[in-house]
Symmetry: C2
Subunit: 561 residues, 2 copies
């Protein structure tokens, strides 16, 4: 069937030109750009712009807490027609089954979901993850047509040291001529050279122009990230000019549901345009230049033979999306997503991800100690994922060491993949919690249960409530659930729509503030990173406190008693 989109202004991503032209589609492909009169279906786009569908070069769909179909419903109305997803989070919980689940759950959507394969599961030897993925485990996935390469190789020390495990995964992708995504924040000079020389093709962790320019000069493509936690766009605005721009892409990495409802790559382009940058440059980054990086043939442009993923915009600088075409079919009309049938996933895979939360019942979070003891306390730093080690004296005869006056609450991480009962237990400062407890099954990268509380019994209640939900986030006080967000899919994702998740998240936040957490803190964000053993300095794991810098577990007590 031939569809004619008449009288629009067409963005040519090869040249940067914007020209009045008609676009003729033949089924799922573009037949031509020029002047046409007749087709089976003619749509008038007078006054509108037409650009290729936007491609997010790096996203963890799990961070949106949405299943791929609900993710599509939220993202496509923003002009997104393809993403390259790294299923790192679900792989840490469910291993290869998690990757297979997301592959099946993203089949035949009105959005093309590509994947790069998680390279670091678990992230370190201190992670009690739900799985361990070797090069051999990744191997079978390379035959999938939507797998484009190896995902962010975070363990850059292993790459620089040319460690066998890391190199085996890299060589497998290189041998297939596939992309290897990088992740090397602040790495520079010869160490960066050695990392890149291994074959790492891009980086999405640049937080300064200098960092980005060094990477581009050294052959990497830079992904300009604008997500929920990390927002690098404003800092990296100079990259919207040549000679940098054509070596850049736009990505989000992690994006929470409420944020995603507000905007996706359209937002990045809009923000850049408001700062005086040419929106066409942003569109080129988010289309052709991303497609070329990933070796996606005949995608990312409006030209003969190209895949008919198209966005109709009311305005270029505002990136106001009116309609979206996916493979020649209009899937968004006047900003509203057309309904579609979610893909069927094999029962075995569904069962695997819906039964992934396996925690041994928690009896208590009591620490066997008396009197005043000098302890290591994890200290949160405002607005940062970094923590500090704070050594201070706690009175175990009063509240078992908890001291809300000094903003010291209890923190526990409980293994939840195999019901081992392993748990780390200690103290946290800087969250501001005064009453009750908050708990979550989203805690990077191994996603064990994490719970912080001013009250020991509320902590137990919160942990058990998350367990009863099969994963999720809860806010508890006085033995009662004040708010909860069930995340039954691997303890990471919901099967509800984005707006419902956004509302529930908002409720969680409000209830958490009622427990004393100050409003400048996004309550579940520090919680999600307090057990990530690759960010300095002191973290809590299922094995206990970890000194990240020294890569060793350390005892809670420092008084040697």
């Amino acid at each position: 069937m031939k569809t004619l989109l008449k009288n629009g202004s067409v963005v040519n991503v090869f040249t940067g030109e914007v020209t009045r032209a008609d676009v003729l589609l033949d089924g799922e492909r573009i037949l031509g750009v020029g002047e046409y009169e007749r087709a089976d279906l003619v749509r008038d786009l007078t006054g509108c712009y037409l650009c290729p569908g936007l491609i997010d070069g790096h996203i963890h769909i799990e961070s949106t807490m949405l299943l791929p179909d609900e993710f599509a419903r939220a993202a496509v109305p923003h002009g997104t027609t393809a993403v390259v997803a790294d299923p790192h989070e679900i792989a840490n919980v469910c291993g290869a089954s998690g990757i297979s689940f997301l592959l099946e759950a993203s089949e035949s959507l009105p959005l093309t979901v590509y994947f790069t394969l998680p390279s670091c599961v678990p992230s370190t030897e201190f992670d009690e993850a739900g799985a361990r993925l070797t090069a051999a485990d990744l191997e079978p996935f390379y035959s999938h047509p939507r797998v484009l390469g190896l995902a962010e190789v975070m363990d850059y020390p292993a790459v620089i040291a040319r460690e066998a495990d890391a190199m085996e995964k890299i060589e497998a992708a290189l041998a297939r001529g596939l992309v290897i995504n990088g992740h090397a924040p602040l790495l520079t000079g010869r160490a960066l050279d050695r990392y890149i020389a291994a074959g790492i093709g891009d980086d999405h962790e640049c937080s300064s122009v200098e960092e980005a320019e060094e990477r581009i000069r050294k052959g990497q493509r830079v992904m300009i990230r604008q997500g929920t936690a990390a927002k690098n766009l404003e800092t990296l605005l100079p990259l919207f000019e040549e000679p940098w721009a054509h070596r850049c892409m736009l990505v989000t990495d992690d994006k929470h549901p409420a944020d995603l409802l507000r905007g996706h790559l359209d937002e990045s382009i809009r923000l850049a345009a408001r700062a005086g940058k040419n929106p066409v440059t942003g569109i080129r980054m988010a289309t052709l230049w991303a497609a070329e990086h990933f070796g996606l043939k005949r995608m990312g442009a409006i030209a003969p033979g190209y895949w008919a993923d198209l966005v109709v915009l009311g305005d270029l600088a505002d990136m106001s999306v009116r309609d979206v075409y996916c493979a020649g079919v209009r899937v968004v009309k006047d900003g509203r997503m057309e309904d579609f049938k979610p893909p069927q996933v094999a029962a075995a895979l569904r069962n695997a991800v819906y039964s992934a939360f396996q925690m041994r019942p928690v009896e208590h979070f009591h620490i066997e100690a008396q009197g005043r003891r000098r302890c290591r306390v994890i200290k949160l730093l405002k607005g940062e994922l970094l923590t500090e080690e704070w050594i201070t004296e706690l009175d175990f005869d009063r509240e078992n060491g908890v001291d809300v006056e000094r903003d010291i609450v209890k923190l526990a991480v409980v293994e939840r993949h195999r019901g081992t009962g392993h748990r780390g237990l200690g103290f946290l400062s800087g969250l501001g919690l005064k009453y009750g407890a908050i708990a979550s099954s989203v805690s990077h990268d191994s996603h064990n249960l994490i719970v912080a509380g001013a009250d020991e019994r509320d902590m137990v209640y919160a942990a058990e409530r998350v367990s009863a939900l099969g994963g999720g986030c809860v806010v508890v006080r006085d033995g009662k659930t004040l708010a909860e967000l069930p995340l039954p899919v691997a303890g990471l994702m919901s099967d509800r729509p984005a707006d419902e998740l956004a509302r529930r998240n908002e409720q969680l936040r409000k209830r958490a503030y009622a427990l004393g957490i100050p409003e400048e803190i996004e309550p579940f964000m520090p919680l999600a990173f307090l057990s990530l053993p690759v960010i300095p300095h002191l973290k809590m794991t299922t094995l206990g406190l970890l000194n990240v810098d020294e890569r060793r577990l350390v005892p809670l007590f420092v008084d040697g008693m």
Copy 2:
């Protein structure tokens, strides 16, 4: 082994910057660009420039008449470290064996010879070629690591009509994600759209800026050609500016040995620089942008992990090549090629290409006719490959129709692949030949024997001499060979070095001029195209005269007697 190239000015093809820096090589790859002191081998490049090795995106090695090793000896000193060759000519003579021969003969050279597979063998149904290559015949070659795609799809009417044979070849390359080279001179508008939409990725036949711009806007990459016969660089100079430049490459297509000795892509960049264009733009076209088009990973740049193909230049605008590194090894020093061992080719393949010339002995070139007859004469147009049909009266009682006063000589094309004795015989005007005969086994695309003569016996002698040589070019007068160039490899190539071929070509030319051919004509050039059935208007084939426009054979006589 680590090699350090110190103190050069390094061309960064990602950004276009030229910066003072050291380059450290580790074996065949680049380790880093920066400041280094120590290595196993240190070479000082003070005052010199370093750029990536140049990549010719489209060349027929057969047109240089050189075997790949001798081609390397001639081309690499010009900074060429890789070419993408289309073995179209040898495939027309020897079929799959010809392709295999060139693959083996180009193995492990100090030059990387990639291939795209000839798509149109034979070029038309009127070609009595030595082989016919179907999609199934090409199939096995795709597993070769140096095969990058499908070569110039010249039969654009077949593509536009979506004919099964052509589409089968195209689909096979598309399915592998490989490049499909185009060849569609002057095609425009919707016909061009339809040709491109089939998946054709580039074009090297642009002879105007408008033609090139249309192709770039429609997603193709444009190859700016500067060869021996077709020189498009000067016309296409505006493409050296953005937004066009980054969608262009530099190629030569056909280049004769003497021309190749004078320059290769270095010459294109130099010419552009003399016309005021930035030589760095030319270098980017001839390196990274070519590598990206063909999906060559980590080639075409000086950056960590990239293949260490490098050129040391005395000057950027002059492109004066001093040294060339191939995979980290210096293969050209001070402009002189280091010696290397030519590759071994399997005996069966050698035999196939060295015994490809199989012509039935020629007894005469006499035409059975008496008196004055009205005939179709092929008329050469000065400086063009186009010919015209000239109908005039010839006197067969005098010299069997030959009339050197009116510049009318005899022309014959004799089948030489299977000894069928098929031959076309007629008349040619515009060559200027007054005595003797010239003959050649290089005649596009089927490379049958072609001979033009003022003297019938000399024509027989010339044809038999070419046959005795197993292919080649000869100039004959009064039953004596005045000059000859043996081309024993498929009747297309010599196994001698470029300078010897250049000298012998020069001799051929001089002797041909002594036969009356005016010096503004390159004598064997019109001969090489007089039987090519895809260039209008009247051509000679082994089946007789061909009206190209009407795609039908026409009789010599038009008087109906």
